[in-house]
Symmetry: C2
Subunit: 223 residues, 2 copies
């Protein structure tokens, strides 16, 4: 199989957030993954944690009968596996060609033992992930398809702060559907409806937000 040439158009060119903490940084090793390549598998011992440099990663749970849940998308600057639990409960896959910086879990743990700043940073990191997961629970438990999709677009706009209103969504519709607990068809139809109401625009496969205010209203079912 041949290497994809690096899809620079699908990459996030914005300046990367600062390293988590200086003492951690020298431990990192750059690693590259091709589109759809597995970074680690469910149940594997967690020997490394990662920071996304370019590209995007999805955390995935695959049920025995083929149903799939994308638990989380990780974008440049995001951290993976810093909860330092001994095993990965979900698998991680590259959404597009991706580069990560990987850190030895053992070394990070040692560092946290000695340096309370690092320990604190780890704690805050995990706490933020927890908040995000809990917010997702509300969305999946109590929101309509339109609310979830509008909310997802707003969230992605904030997380990528792409130039202007152009959203850079590296993932396919299927990934979005599996993230929001919907089917591809529902995602497409809802996007089409948002387009018809001039809330978003879809040109050449790229989505941009035409009416951010309206999109936020829809995400709260206050239309």
């Amino acid at each position: 199989m041949q290497l994809h040439h690096l899809a620079t158009a699908r990459t996030f060119p914005s300046p990367l957030p600062a390293a988590p903490s200086d003492p951690l940084e020298p431990l990192g090793v750059v690693q590259s993954f091709r589109r759809d390549q597995e970074i680690y598998a469910e149940g594997e011992p967690a020997n490394y944690c990662y920071r996304v440099i370019t590209g995007a990663v999805r955390l995935v749970k695959l049920l025995e009968d083929g149903r799939r849940q994308v638990i989380e998308f990780l974008l440049p600057g995001d951290h993976i596996g810093f909860d330092l639990l001994p095993e990965h409960e979900f698998s991680a896959e590259a959404v597009t060609d991706t580069t990560l910086k990987s850190y030895s879990r053992r070394r990070v743990e040692q560092l946290a033992e000695q340096n309370s700043g690092v320990a604190r940073w780890l704690r805050d990191q995990t706490a933020r992930d927890l908040r995000r997961a809990q917010t997702r629970i509300v969305s999946l438990g109590r929101k309509s398809a339109a609310e979830r999709i509008a909310g997802f677009l707003v969230e992605m706009a904030e997380r990528t702060r792409g130039m202007g209103n152009a959203l850079n969504l590296p993932m396919a519709r299927t990934d979005i559907a599996d993230h929001l607990g919907l089917t591809v068809e529902t995602v497409c139809r809802t996007l089409s409806r948002l387009k018809q109401t001039n809330t978003i625009a879809i040109a050449g496969g790229k989505i941009s937000i035409s009416n951010r205010h309206q999109l936020e209203l829809v995400s709260r079912e206050l239309h």
Copy 2:
């Protein structure tokens, strides 16, 4: 308003898990809450964190139009708010009459600063909560009503390890529904169906598991 007498029948009499860590324990102060009493509100500064002694607590998100999501139930031995983020994102309410031990967030933070064991315990605590939340995401995103309810019963059986097969569910059907992203009616109907198939028994409002194996199969849609 009059005090309810302590609903001992609805309380968890099992031996309480050990304190998180000795140095933390002397900071704790016992506090009591009546059924449905608010422990803290959404958006409030998080000055305290808690450990459940008896009773049960629900973490709740209330949407502007009245929809409700119970993000999490906390049972005796469980910890609340130890992520030490500055504000509570959700409100906490007593499901039944409840006693908590409360800890000053500031003092806990200081302790973590000095004692890397405490810091590590905090991190692990938050990491476990994160795992639980992520598992819930899978359930809400990709599981049917029957799967969610069966899974919930199994989970509660494990968490309470009630005497034998008798489950002690302190929360009302509405709470269960709002936890699983369903309506009360669906919860009732599904419980009735589980009863008809002799998977569970409902007597005097109390649920007990008749066929644990079957229940686990249903929770994985392998019936």
